[in-house]
Symmetry: C2
Subunit: 194 residues, 2 copies
């Protein structure tokens, strides 16, 4: 019965992501979103509720595709150390190929809204905990096979690695230079070796 939607929701979310990420949540207006997505106001409100709903959907979609893309990288190898390196490589590539320097939407959203938006704050916390747990698992496995040094407790080292990734998301915003980011990462990953 109904008329089909004339747009692909995921494509719209990708376009919204770009604007939200370049201008921030409070910095982007509904006009910006109408222009960027090509949709009319009514379609946006009908599909996503309101601006905040669209933002949350966009953020979820961003993190999901980020997770998926990363997974495609680290499943290429069975080595735990190489899985970790693959995550860092993915991040560096993501940063230096980002033409507009808009950075990671989850980090940006969290830094802008952490104090005033519980949902965003919780998503950021969950993302962090999941990644840390993933790292911890790999490190523990790698330590048991002897591939990774036992010098540091797995959980602590995992948190240190994630801390470094968040660092890249900040410093990479100021200076998205491939060689520098690799240099930084090389030192961080040496922690796995000693």
């Amino acid at each position: 019965m109904p008329k089909a939607k004339q747009f692909d929701e995921l494509e719209v979310l990708k376009k919204a992501e770009k604007v939200f990420n370049e201008k921030g949540y409070n910095g982007t207006s509904m006009d910006d979103l109408v222009q960027a997505t090509g949709l009319s106001r009514s379609s946006i409100y009908d599909t996503f509720g309101d601006k905040h709903g669209l933002f949350l959907k966009t953020l979820e979609n961003y993190q999901a595709s980020q997770d998926k893309a990363m997974q495609q990288q680290f499943t290429k190898t069975d080595s735990y150390k190489k899985k970790i390196r693959a995550v860092f490589d993915y991040m560096i590539n993501d940063i230096v190929t980002d033409k507009t320097r808009k950075g990671c939407m989850m980090v940006n959203a969290n830094m802008e809204l952490n104090c005033v938006d519980k949902e965003v704050a919780e998503m950021a916390l969950t993302t962090m905990e999941e990644m840390e747990q993933q790292f911890a698992m790999w490190i523990k496995e790698g330590q048991s096979t002897g591939e990774i040094s036992k010098k540091f407790p797995a959980k602590a080292l995992a948190k240190n690695l994630y801390n470094n990734i968040m660092g890249l998301r900040v410093t990479g915003r100021n200076r998205p230079d491939y060689d520098t980011l690799r240099e930084i990462t090389k030192i961080t990953l040496s922690l796995l070796d000693q």
Copy 2:
């Protein structure tokens, strides 16, 4: 002849800092600032030009007092390794004693406005370069006295340290837990020892 200003400019900047930092630049209205500072609109515009001018002044003042407070910590010792540790300790303390979890204004401002505000982007870049250079100097000195390991090039290690500090400013926003931040830092600083 003139009637003296009825307020202390620095105190006003401190109050503005709190609001800007909790709500972000675009998230805080002039009404918020009037309420937070206790000043009238006219006084704000007369003294700081406009909202953006006030923000920049606030950000400059924040960084200056941040630098000063940090300096008071690391000048307490002559050991280069301890100077570096003092910076990390200062950061951790700054994070965990921040009741509202508002984080570092320079990082927040940069993450929100990097794409759309050249002045903020440049301030953030300068802040990073200065801190990295400071670290590099200390590391170089420490390496020459044997206090710090020569395993890594001073400049690269300096960038890694700053990267970790930026990490703390992000992860500390999600989970401002003293023990965790110390755990992370302990591993990072072990890079100086090997």
